[in-house]
């Protein structure tokens, strides 16, 4: 089993590394966009999939990362990787007080509180025009080559898988899942919920921030509506639940599936894009609320004639 | 038992999610009787009552009311048939006035038509509720809340009233009051199914009682018989 997954990992790395050498720029661009979504999805998976706090506000970090990159490059003439990392760092720093405030809210209050925060950041970026360029935005020099961006995004995906895997197997991860299952009970059992939630929140903020920086550099133009794209939020959430929220590979599997579907939808059913995405959300929630990964896992277990392992996510139905 | 039983529960089985709560519960009540369900925590008393009132779907066994099967029937229909239920913890509507709480007891069309007379009846049974009918139920004292819950149960004109721990958390003097009220309700000809922690008082007034343990009926008898049974005294009366 272990050898098998190592082989898959090696093949994955090889494919990702080799792609720019045999694939067209378009294909590289497609995978770059997919990886950006998947990176955001990994952040969401940590706070919402594992910890159970449904966030509609990961785009606030995404936008922060995008603006950090744009301002670092445009105003301070820093190299773009510095701008991207600065965005990640800023997000982590902002996430501490923000999480401290927000994580006291539960259920829909937290979800919509985070959504409101995105709007506030978007308002700030449009009102503070002397620094952010306001609604007019910031024009950046064009990206010479997509490859470094592509590799950076791919690295974020691997980092997402690695971090998620490390967390799931740690005591930290178990406690997060305990919070998800029943926060009061976890607290009663002596789990320091406030600190743990905050840690998860901070880690989860770095992923969208870095994705936002890479995205802004690729776009070479940033304004409030492109820095805080609401549909990216939904795409990444849908990817995670499609693949399986609270699983290691869920965001990746869901992300690849949905990206391929979307690509086809754009090309062939332009006018029906939202309808199809919306219907897909509804169908997934009704018929496979756990996502693809647990389904596949159960299917494999059944074929081997084993009773499925009763993990956390299988109980939660 | 003399008459045909009004309620007959046979080999009832029920689950809470994946956890089996009832394995084999059987008992019956004749018209006009006061029947008590006894048993420790987790014995399945509340689950049994919820299964009868349609809030929980039984997985097996049967429930008959006035000779007709009612297991798996929706709770709305159960209330229509004449089974009232005063749930554990009272389940009042805290932000509504006492009067509104009572009127909701007469929600179904039949009782709704006679809601004024029924309201008068309940007010005569519980004068304190009449005095406080404008007050919101959440601001009542514990005893008053229990009276309000019982009053609401009576508003649906039940022929069988199930009371789940009506004296829970009440001062001894109020417990007396509750038992006096239960006696009054019986006088009206209503069959009463009672789940009670105050075993001694309950057995004193009970016609029949059944003992539940781990989701099974493990004993039965008249109130007096059980009161005299040394094992029962040891297990439930701590004497």
């Amino acid at each position: 089993m272990k050898k098998y997954s190592l082989a898959v990992l090696a093949a994955g790395i090889l494919f990702v590394a080799a792609l720019p050498h045999f694939g067209s720029d378009y294909l590289v661009g497609f995978f770059f966009s997919t990886f950006i979504f998947v990176t955001v999805a990994y952040g969401w998976n940590l706070i919402s999939g594992y910890t159970g706090y449904l966030s509609f506000g990961q785009m606030s970090f995404f936008g922060l990362g995008a603006y950090a990159l744009a301002i670092a490059v445009f105003r301070y003439h820093l190299p773009w990787p510095v701008g991207v990392l600065a965005g990640g760092l800023l997000a982590a720093i902002l996430a501490v007080p923000l999480g401290w405030l927000m994580l006291r809210l539960r259920g829909p209050y937290f979800a919509l509180g985070m959504l409101g925060f995105v709007q506030i950041l978007s308002t700030v970026s449009s009102a503070w025009s002397s620094f952010t360029g306001g609604g007019e935005g910031i024009y950046l020099p064009p990206t010479a080559s997509l490859r470094p961006l592509y590799y950076a995004a791919a690295a974020m995906v691997f980092l997402g898988i690695g971090v998620t895997r490390a967390i799931e197997r740690s005591a930290f991860g178990l406690r997060l899942q305990a919070i998800r299952e029943d926060e009061l009970a976890a607290e009663a059992m002596g789990v320091e919920t406030t600190r743990l939630k905050l840690q998860a929140f901070v880690i989860a903020s770095v992923f969208p921030a870095i994705a936002g920086g890479l995205y802004a550099w690729r776009l070479s133009y940033i304004d409030p509506s492109s820095a805080f794209p609401g549909n990216y939020e939904i795409q990444s959430i849908l990817m995670t639940i499609l693949g399986g929220a609270g699983t290691i590979l869920g965001p990746l599997v869901g992300g690849l599936t949905l990206s391929v579907l979307s690509e086809v939808i754009w090309a062939r059913f332009a006018e029906l894009h939202l309808l199809l995405v919306g219907s897909l959300i509804i169908l997934v929630l009704l018929f496979m609320p756990e996502g693809m990964i647990p389904l596949v896992r159960r299917f494999l277990a059944r074929r081997r004639g084993r009773v499925p392992k009763t993990g956390m996510q299988e109980v939660r139905r | 038992m003399s008459a045909e039983p009004i309620l007959r529960v046979r080999n009832l089985v029920a689950f809470h999610g994946d956890v089996q709560a009832l394995w084999d519960v059987s008992f019956e009540a004749s018209p006009g009787e006061l029947v008590v369900l006894l048993g420790g925590n987790g014995g399945g008393k509340t689950t049994t009552i919820r299964a009868i009132s349609g809030m929980l779907r039984p997985a097996g066994g049967s429930v008959e009311f006035k000779g007709a099967p009612i297991h798996g029937v929706a709770s709305r229909r159960i209330v229509e048939l004449g089974i009232g239920h005063v749930p554990e913890g009272r389940a009042l509507f805290p932000q509504m006035s006492v009067r509104e709480n009572l009127l909701l007891g007469a929600y179904l069309p039949g009782p709704h038509r006679r809601r004024r007379e029924n309201l008068e009846k309940v007010f005569s049974l519980f004068p304190v509720l009449k005095a406080r009918h404008r007050q919101s139920a959440g601001t009542l004292s514990g005893g008053e809340q229990q009276m309000c819950a019982i009053g609401r149960g009576l508003m649906s004109e039940p022929s069988l009233l199930m009371l789940d721990e009506p004296s829970l958390g009440l001062a001894p003097i109020l417990v007396e009051e509750i038992f006096r009220i239960i006696a009054d309700i019986r006088k009206e000809g209503v069959t009463v199914l009672l789940v009670e922690q105050h075993v001694e008082q309950a057995l004193e007034v009970a016609d029949h009682a059944f003992i539940l343990a781990d989701g099974r009926t493990v004993g039965k008898g008249t109130g007096a018989e059980l009161l005299a049974n040394p094992e029962v005294r040891k297990a439930y009366l701590s004497v």
Binding site: S129, G135, P142, S225, S226, H273, S279 | -
Partner: protein, 393 residues
């Protein structure tokens, strides 16, 4: 059991989505690629632009195509989203291997995809990007095919000067194009003897302008400029009436040129609007263009149709001049092209900024748009001052 059926159902929907994707590759024709905002906030205007492209391609093929080959327009929906536009141009150039490209709709999307064109060294005329800043970044393959934003309100300013109006309040949507219009107005007003007493922006999508207009009313300016699109332009004029803002002259940068502005009914009268093109303007080949457009699409073209058609005319001329699909030569040819299109006189400067196309001014009079400036194309005279709202029906 039930679960398997459900999985099958989901899978079936997925397959349905995929099944349409088989794309037949055709080798022969010259492919011209573009992205169009078929959905999203720009969809309505962008559709007119697309039809302008389509009409030209149709006519070109009837004339025997380009360089002796038929021409085919390849386009995808960018959903009014800049990032999607970038991906689609990447796809057009590298996957579909189009031979030529033309610009998308809006300054925002054009700005983003201009970098793709530049990277792949593909000449691109952007007929729907009025923001000249896009072309001031030292690009060599991008050319502005739309009147630059700075010129939109010159006609209104000329009229204001002629009537001796002194004070102005200006509102603008906080996005690239309207702000560019405002900046230019601020720069040139001294020449017209006008002082700006109020100059504020509002965010994209704003609907309630009553607070801003209360402030404007207090300042009692002679002129109100709304550097706005259709919905916000309508909102500002309508709410000016509701709040009793009695300026002597109201002008809207874009919105008043749209026929739908007339939905305001009598409130639309006396309002001025910048317009880049009108069906009855005496530009070269305009009547034939309007006639052919109506025949093909069953509706009147708007200025987006004409601008995109004009871009195709320039591209066609450049390719014919070069005699091949060599992008370097085509870019060089476009930069030197000076020609009369249906949209007006096309000419770009060394950076690619449009310096030929100019703006005209219309006024709503009795529910109709009347071009009132410049004199060369005017259909009627401007009526000024605007009567106070309280005296109007």
């Amino acid at each position: 059991m039930g679960r398997n059926v459900r999985i099958l159902l989901v899978a079936a929907v997925a397959l349905l989505m995929v099944s349409g994707s088989a794309v037949a590759a055709e080798k022969k024709p010259i492919l011209i690629g573009t992205s169009v905002s078929l959905s999203g906030s720009y969809a309505a205007s962008a559709k007119y632009g697309l039809e302008g492209y389509q009409l030209f391609v149709e006519q070109l093929n009837k004339r025997g195509g380009l360089l002796g080959r038929p021409v085919k327009l390849v386009y995808y929906d960018d959903r009014s989203d800049a990032n999607t536009g970038v991906q689609l141009y990447e796809k057009l150039i590298t996957a579909d291997k189009v031979d030529l490209i033309v610009g998308p709709y809006s300054s925002g999307v054009t700005s983003a995809v201009s970098t793709v064109a530049e990277k792949h060294k593909m000449a691109m005329i952007g007929p729907e990007a009025a923001d000249a800043k896009i072309y001031m970044r030292g690009y060599k393959y991008n050319f502005q095919g739309q009147t630059q934003a700075g010129r939109y309100m010159l006609g209104a300013l000329a009229l204001a000067k002629a009537h001796g109006y002194k004070t102005m309040a200006m509102l603008a949507e906080d996005t690239a194009f309207p702000k560019a219009v405002s900046e230019e107005v601020v720069k040139v007003v001294p020449e017209y003897g006008v002082k700006i007493v109020f100059n504020q922006t509002y965010p994209k999508g704003a609907a309630d302008f009553s607070a801003l207009l209360t402030k404007v009313k207090q300042l009692n300016p002679d002129i109100v400029f709304a550097n706005s699109y259709l919905p916000d332009g309508q909102g500002i004029i309508r709410q000016s009436r509701e709040q009793g803002v009695d300026a002597k002259m109201f002008a809207v940068a874009v919105g008043a040129a749209e026929p739908e502005f007339g939905n305001l009914g009598s409130t639309a009268n006396y309002i001025f609007g910048a317009t880049q093109w009108a069906a009855n303007m005496k530009t070269k080949g305009n009547p034939e263009f309007v006639k052919a457009y109506k025949a093909m699409f069953g509706r009147n073209p708007d200025y987006h149709s004409a601008a995109n058609y004009g871009a195709m005319q320039v591209l066609d001329a450049a390719v014919k001049q070069v005699g091949s699909l060599d992008q370097n030569k085509i870019a060089a040819a476009i930069s030197k092209t000076e020609m009369d299109t249906v949209y007006g006189h096309f000419k770009v400067d060394g950076r690619g900024v449009q310096v030929g196309y100019a703006s005209a001014l219309l006024q709503w009079q009795n529910g109709k748009q009347v071009v009132v400036w410049p004199a060369a194309v005017a259909q009627g005279k401007a009526i000024l001052p605007t009567p106070p709202w309280s005296q109007r029906k």
